[in-house]
Subunit: 200 residues, 2 copies
Amino acid sequence: MSARKPDPRTGDIMLRHWREAVPNDRIAHLIKDSSRGLQRALQMRLARHNVSFGHWVFLRILWVRDGITQRELSEEAGLMEPTTFSALTSMEKLGYLERRKLPHSRKNVYVFLTPAGRQLKKKLVPLAEDVNEIAVQGIDPADVATTRRTLLVMIENIARDESEHADPTRAARMRRMLDVIDNEPTEDTDTKKSTDAFGV
Amino acid sequence: MSARKPDPRTGDIMLRHWREAVPNDRIAHLIKDSSRGLQRALQMRLARHNVSFGHWVFLRILWVRDGITQRELSEEAGLMEPTTFSALTSMEKLGYLERRKLPHSRKNVYVFLTPAGRQLKKKLVPLAEDVNEIAVQGIDPADVATTRRTLLVMIENIARDESEHADPTRAARMRRMLDVIDNEPTEDTDTKKSTDAFGV
DNA sequence: GGCGCATGATTAGCTCTCTAAGCATTTAGC
DNA sequence: GCTAAATGCTTAGAGAGCTAATCATGCGCC
């Protein structure tokens, strides 16, 4: 039900493209396509500085706080440990970070940015700002806010569904994503102001 | 700029979480996270029927129309040909489809669903409907519509950016995505009504 | 103080996606 | 009619993500 009700509210009936009329699906499509688009747009730009999109995710976290374990890094990134592991391995080879064992633990591996890794921030953050700016060009900020709110609820809904479907690992990760989103005050491409606030 | 304007419109100032106040970024985050969430939710369900998420994409297209070439299939899916190729290869092994050369061309390969592949529709489409329904639970349909509209413009913005950045291949794909979105009348999980309309 | 579970790092191997490059066929131009 | 370009399929190889399994260390409990 609920499909293509004529909706006599407004007079622009002809204008009301099916886009707006069709119900639930396609939103998943749109989300996927826009996600891929955004990722590619950033990727293109990062590539010119020899940074892959996968590395970007971890750099962002480390610029805020380094000296943390791989495990913590995984959690903040919302990625599984093997993914983190391989990304860090290649980033270490590129000289962006170092993995060190500290004296008080022979188990944990702590990740530190090198000066090179730290300096990337100045070059890379503006690229992400560009992409975000381009993406929302010409869109009413209120609509962007609505979109943000909607997506957040969708993530919550999906996380709840995952818990109910009894898959503790997945549900936990999903919940972690939400936590991170909630607790990230201003970590990356927010405003110039907040970027400065990190002590770039 | 445009960050955290107080916006005295409403009285719920305290309630206006930073979520709504922060500007451009994080939307990319949210989109990525929700995309992964939606994908995983569907994946979980498809897996129980031995169908991977990658196959779903092509099945959806073929349920509407089969007997098309790999090339056309790639375009409709918005994926590169090698991606299509490998997906089709494994789907053929699973017995969901057949690749046939027709007499009038020794170059083109035409893809046809087998009865098995066609029957999956009845089982799988409801799964996608479930996921979409769960995802938008409790959200004002108007907000979902706004989100859809916003994402569409974002995709357009990114596509335009890609053309400007002189990468014809990428930009072309992005534009194709939009075309497909525009021209897909009722291909999958729309309403029960439209599902029936495909002659399931 | 030692046994065993918990936790962090790693390895192996899978999927999905991409780019780049190859080969085969069809079409177009001279 | 024959060569050259365009088109379609395929192969090869990479990256980013995942799960499952393994190994080492740390910690709790008896």
